[in-house]
């Protein structure tokens, strides 16, 4: 069930692996396990890439030949797929991903100002990560929350009727969640 706090903590747990570069041994074991599970389903590549990014926080370059070999396709083909989709990241990202909706409904409700605020408050441009590796800022084109525009997404939670003040509160809260997480690991899914 959805729960703001445990979701936040779950997000932290998930991305904590992904914070920073994973080492090669870890990559090989994680990717190996995922391949055993998924390589024989029809159309396995996207599900595999999703799982790799879910577990490692990103899709490391060094995982591409391993995936390619298992699926009998070239490393270049896997690379082509990773780069085609906005969702997949070849580099480690922050512990939290904040996505700000840039699409029309949100624009009509002050979304452009919110975009500008998000960038200046975090000191980031799109796809950049804060120095402390806490937060990555990404654009998104519609979250299906257009009746509560403007909208942002943090991990798997969407927030509507957003404004600069609430945005700052959410960022503040995110930066304190890791402590809550380590104090209460039982809450993690």
């Amino acid at each position: 069930m959805t729960d703001a706090n445990t979701q936040g903590a779950g997000q932290a747990a998930q991305a904590s692996n992904g914070q920073g570069l994973a080492n090669q041994a870890e990559i090989e074991s994680v990717v190996g396990r995922i391949l055993v599970e998924l390589k024989d389903i029809p159309g396995p590549l996207l599900p595999i890439l999703h799982e790799v990014q879910h577990q490692l926080g990103y899709v490391p370059d060094s995982s591409l030949p391993i995936i390619g070999k298992a699926l009998n396709i070239s490393r270049a083909e896997v690379h082509g797929v990773v780069t085609f989709y906005h969702h997949f990241s070849s580099k480690p990202r922050g512990r939290h991903i904040i996505e700000v909706c840039r699409a029309e409904s949100c624009q009509s409700m002050g979304g452009r100002d919110l975009e500008a605020h998000a960038k200046s408050a975090l000191g980031l441009d799109w796809y950049q990560t804060t120095m402390d590796k806490e937060i990555t800022l990404e654009p998104v084109f519609c979250l299906g929350n257009c009746a509560c525009s403007p909208a942002i997404r943090v991990g798997d939670e969407v927030y509507g009727r957003m404004d600069a003040e609430q945005f700052d509160e959410i960022v503040d809260e995110l930066r304190t969640v890791p402590l809550a997480f380590s104090a209460n690991p039982a809450e993690v899914k």
């Binding site: 906005h86 969702h87 009509s108 084109f141 009746a147 525009s149």
Partner: protein, 527 residues
């Protein structure tokens, strides 16, 4: 004292986005403190989003609603009888009291067929679903031949709700007529159009309707495997769909030998990866196959050579969900709604700068003005409404002189407007239409699959040209260049991404030309 009170708080992601989870927690806590037993149902949303989080309570008079409720409102709501058998007049005393839910004008004026259960039932309760005519359609379908099923869908007049409005029954006939070892049903749940959320609401409020519709589609064209291609941006819908699929499997409604009929239909959710173009059906299939989402030339039609080269039905979430009620009530019943060649009802989505944004399902033929003002209540900002984008990011911007149009596929396209997936995004008079046109081109730069030059390069040039117009560099020449670019994109693109991106740009130029004539002063805007 021990009477159990049934309370409904949505688990819909829009409701959650404005605090439904906090309301639910606080209510549970307060109820426990005063020893009241609450049967808390996490329903879907009714789609009256300005009232979310909406809390409903079962009373002897029927379900009553309160909204928008914040956690801090709960003590006073409980004081005013939220959780005990307070009389309607006691309840009325609270400013958030909305009365009987079904009597709320916005809802009462609608004709909900596809969304008949939205917000009423627990989305993952099969019992709730069946007690509201759920699976009546499938039970009927199991006694019919494939051809009879296809005929029923043809009779309904249903046209695809994803945007292209192709008759669903005709598409199914082609798949039925094409012999193959394996056929597929794909539900297009990529819902990339900004200003639209009906697919999401449907999946989160009534997932069994989609599952039932896809199962019936499988029977109709003899397909045994279905995929729901769901956009990554909808994590809550993913959880709800997977939960519902599991329940359906456990109860014999999916899998082998459905309801002891000997028929098989398997269903799986696959997640996209943030690419608008993967809503285009052939790019979607490439993506499902594990490739870049590049658009395939047609022919071959997906109905003949689709997923993994096999005959495939690709239909939108709403088209497939509507199949359930068409089979339950008959094609004739459905086609009696609507106008002209647009039969049945359309779930319109009111978005943007509106006082009452939400889902409005009515028969085709309602005017845009009625939707924007009678339902939408005009702008939220209170300023004059200036422009409305209809039909998603590839749809034209319409000025007031076009708001009289009836919402009907043909009536809109005759005026260069698009009905598409049914979204309307309203803008007040602070909108800068040059910036909107620039965004349309920029969106195409970001989301083009890259296969054709007019789309890939044309959109990049489009952004540059608009930047020069904004900076007042050779304005007249550049305006002419922009028109030429639009023409090239319209005529030289393989799919509607490049072919329709010019619609919002050209309509902005045509109807809001003054915004392209302003002296340059905002160099840094919109980067």
């Amino acid at each position: 004292m021990t009477a159990i009170v049934k309370v409904f708080i949505p688990r819909d992601s829009a409701a959650l986005s404005v605090g439904a989870e906090r309301v639910s927690k606080k209510l549970t806590q307060l109820a426990a403190e005063q020893d009241t037993v609450v049967d808390l149902v996490r329903n879907g949303s009714r789609g009256l989003f300005w009232l979310e989080p909406m809390v409903e309570v079962d009373t002897p008079e029927g379900r009553v609603a309160y909204g928008p409720v914040a956690p801090k409102d709960l003590p006073s709501l409980i004081e005013a009888g939220l959780l005990n058998n307070a009389s309607p007049s006691d309840r009325q005393a609270h400013p958030l009291y909305l009365g009987l839910t079904e009597e709320i004008e916005y809802l009462k004026k609608q004709q909900r067929l596809t969304f008949a259960r939205a917000g009423i039932i627990d989305p993952v309760s099969l019992t709730d679903y069946k007690s509201t005519h759920g699976y009546d359609g499938l039970v009927r379908a199991l006694d019919m031949s494939s051809q009879a099923l296809v005929d029923e869908v043809k009779d309904s007049g249903l046209r695809g709700r994803g945007g292209a409005a192709f008759p669903t029954g005709i598409k199914w006939q082609t798949v039925l007529n094409t012999p193959a070892e394996q056929k597929y049903i794909i539900c297009n749940a990529d819902e990339g159009d900004s200003g639209t959320f009906a697919d999401r609401l449907q999946m989160e409020a009534d997932p069994f309707a989609l599952i039932e519709g896809m199962t019936i589609a499988g029977l109709a064209v003899e397909a045994t495997q279905g995929y729901i291609y769901l956009r990554e941006e909808y994590p809550h819908a993913k959880d709800i769909l997977n939960e519902a699929i599991q329940v359906a499997e456990q109860n014999g409604y999916l899998g082998e030998n459905i309801l002891d009929s000997g028929k098989t239909f398997h269903l799986e959710v696959r997640i996209g990866a943030k690419a608008y173009i993967c809503g285009e059906e052939t790019a979607l299939m490439e993506s499902l196959e594990g490739k870049r989402g590049m658009v395939r030339p047609k022919p071959p039609l997906p109905a003949i050579e689709g997923l993994f080269g096999q005959p495939t039905v690709v239909n939108n979430v709403l088209s497939l969900s509507t199949i359930a009620i068409i089979l339950a009530k008959g094609g004739k019943f459905y086609q009696e709604f609507g106008m002209g060649r647009s039969r049945g009802t359309m779930p319109f989505q009111l978005a943007g700068n509106l006082k009452y944004p939400g889902l409005v399902e009515t028969a085709f033929g309602i005017t845009m003005k009625e939707l924007l003002f009678d339902f939408g209540g005009g702008t939220r900002s209170g300023r004059p409404m200036r422009s409305v984008q209809s039909g998603g990011p590839l749809g034209a911007y319409l000025p007031e002189s076009q708001w009289h149009l009836e919402m009907d596929y043909e009536a809109l396209s005759a005026e260069g407007a698009v009905l598409g997936h049914g979204g309307l995004v309203a803008f007040d008079d602070t909108v800068d239409m040059l910036e909107q046109a620039r965004f349309s081109m920029e969106f195409c730069v970001e989301e083009s699959c890259g296969k054709c030059t007019p789309c890939r390069i044309g959109s990049t040039r489009g952004v540059e040209v608009i930047d020069r117009i904004r900076a007042d560099e050779n304005r007249d020449d550049n305006l002419e260049l922009l028109e030429d670019l639009c023409d090239t994109m319209v005529s030289g693109s393989l799919c509607a991404m490049g072919g329709m991106t010019p619609f919002p740009v050209q309509s902005a130029l045509e109807h809001f030309g003054e915004d392209f004539q302003k002296p340059s002063n905002n160099q840094e805007a919109g980067q």
